[in-house]
Amino acid sequence: MLRFLMRRLVVSALVAVTVSILAFGLLRLSGDLAAELAGSGASEEQIHKVALTYGLDRPTYIQYLDWAGSALRGDFGKSLFTGEAVSDIIAHALPVTAKLAFFSLVLILVLAIPIGVLAATYPNSWIDRAALAVATAGQAMPSFWFGLMLILVFGVWLGWTPISGQDGWSNFILPTATVALSSLAAPMRLTRAGMLEVMQSDFIRMAQAKGLPQRVVLYKHALRNAILPVVSVLMVTFGHILAGTVVVETVFSLHGLGYEVFHAILRADFPVVQTVVAFVSITYILLTLLSDLINAQLDPRIALS
């Protein structure tokens, strides 16, 4: 177990370093970031001045080491356009995105697990097929379009929910529904498949033979064993939601990480872009590491393979 832990830690650290280099290089791939910042029609001299101001005249690897070094000390640089510290931008934006991701995850849990259990209890029934259809449709729906349709129906026609903004919890109803529906399929299918498998095992037949009520058998005996893979998929889903909110935040005017990074990309605001990309990637790496460790703890065979 200790060897497994060490190996996973080393690999994760390597991946994190690589990803931070990629995040750093992302906006520099065009070759001349200074020229892009100076704008079209800028003279040689102006471009040179921009390069000097932001330290872009130094070799790229020095710039990276400088950035990574300061980042480790908590200094991520400043936005080129607002002058605001990147750490402040993240501190303002992260709660919005985290709220959205957390609400979505709760909604996914509340929907995916009971529906998955029901679908597995009555395989190939209408409820199983309907659940599969909803999950398949959710995956195929472009989230920007689904979000706009929700705004139209619930915000405008029915007038039940606000259509943009981020101050009250009610602002999060529609964005949460949009995100949750698009990520529902994997946890739901996994719950169903896991339950179907567990329901075949001897201890379930034993529990049924003892005459335990079906509800106790399902939720107390079967679900507990079927839910392990679902937990790790949910961790990964959480990472995906954090990384994928650009579209939903734009549609609902939520000023979260996705919204900030999108506007930073449009303005070639590289300190913001590289920090947010690195931040989201490293969060994802930590989440998968955590889910691997939990799985290995619960099922020691994983650590041995």
Binding site: L26, L29, G244, S281
Partner: protein, 307 residues
């Protein structure tokens, strides 16, 4: 006892129905395909959309670029005052929505197909090398896949497109370079299983080189899996292209794409909701059909171990 009866008796699972006896795996797959409603529906829609995309120039009743401000927001055929001249009405610039939809299908399909194909080449190369050689090489491959998985795909695509411009070629390459992981994971796993099979051992015993074994023993056996992943990844590519175009960094107006049609319709959404609803529904229908086709192909070509 005839030879036929003897063979039948030796293969118990072929005894289920008499007409099953002499079906090759390919014939069995055909039979399963004909009885698979999801696959048939998906195939029908995909074929239809492909035809529409190819024949857009012939079918489209209007020029998709022709503006006519006097014809702004013409109603659809089912709305009051609508006519068959503009079936889905016109947009804020008086352009025919139906014609733009047909031309938009072309862009979506071309980008999705090429992106998924380039991704197939990248992902399969990575997956086969890892799965075939194993050991340290595989560790490097796994590390590459982990790096790829940790990057936020959409944000990275947006950054790359903002740097390199949003021509269709750039879009294809950006989507391909960011969505090859599923091919790599699937082909790596299957190659690991194939590597232990007798025909690979036999080829090795005959002195075949690694590249020869990979090309003539491994790859043909991966083909079904690659086609299934290719289908599913085309659906992903369509959604990514639509999202990029919706955000204004994908296909640039006035070229019609389903994503930028939703984005253009958004300004007038409260008064003309169909301008957003129709192109979005088109994306949804195409993506769900491609997914049904992909799931169906998997059921038909590899019916065991579906979960």
């Amino acid at each position: 006892m005839t030879i036929d009866a003897a063979t039948t008796a030796l293969i118990p699972d072929r005894q289920v129905a008499d007409d099953d006896v002499y079906l090759s795996p390919r014939q069995l797959a055909w039979r399963r395909a004909r009885r698979h409603p999801g696959l048939l529906f998906g195939l029908a829609v995909v074929v239809l959309v492909t035809l529409v995309a190819v024949l857009a120039g012939v079918i489209a009743p209007h020029d998709p670029y022709e503006q006519d401000l006097s014809q702004q927001f013409a109603p659809t055929v089912w709305q009051e005052g609508g006519s068959w001249i503009n079936i889905f009405g016109t947009d804020s610039l008086g352009r025919d929505v139906f014609s733009r939809l047909l031309y938009g299908a072309r862009i979506s399909l071309i980008i999705a197909f090429f992106a998924a194909s380039v991704a197939a080449v990248i992902g399969t190369a990575i997956g086969v090398i890892g799965g075939y050689f194993g050991g340290r090489i595989d560790a490097v491959i796994m590390y590459l896949i982990s790096c790829k998985l940790s990057l936020p795909g959409l944000i990275v695509s947006l950054s790359l497109v903002s740097v390199f411009g949003s021509s269709p070629v750039v879009l294809v390459l950006v989507i391909a370079f960011l969505f090859w992981d599923r091919y790599a994971i699937v082909t790596r796993t299957v190659t690991m299983q194939l590597r232990e099979r007798e025909f690979v051992t036999a080829a090795r015993a005959l002195g075949s080189s690694h590249s020869r074994i990979i090309i003539s023993e491994i790859l043909p056996n991966l083909l079904n899996h690659i086609i299934v992943v290719l289908t599913l990844e085309m659906a992903v590519a369509i959604l990514v292209e639509a999202a990029l175009s919706f955000l204004g960094l994908g296909i640039q107006p006035p070229t019609p794409s389903w994503g930028n049609m939703v984005s253009e319709g958004r300004a007038d959404m409260f008064f003309q909701p169909h301008l957003v609803a129709i192109p979005g529904l088109a994306i949804f229908l195409l993506v769900i059909s491609i997914n049904l086709l992909g799931d169906g192909l998997r059921d038909v070509t590899a019916p065991d171990g579906r979960n």
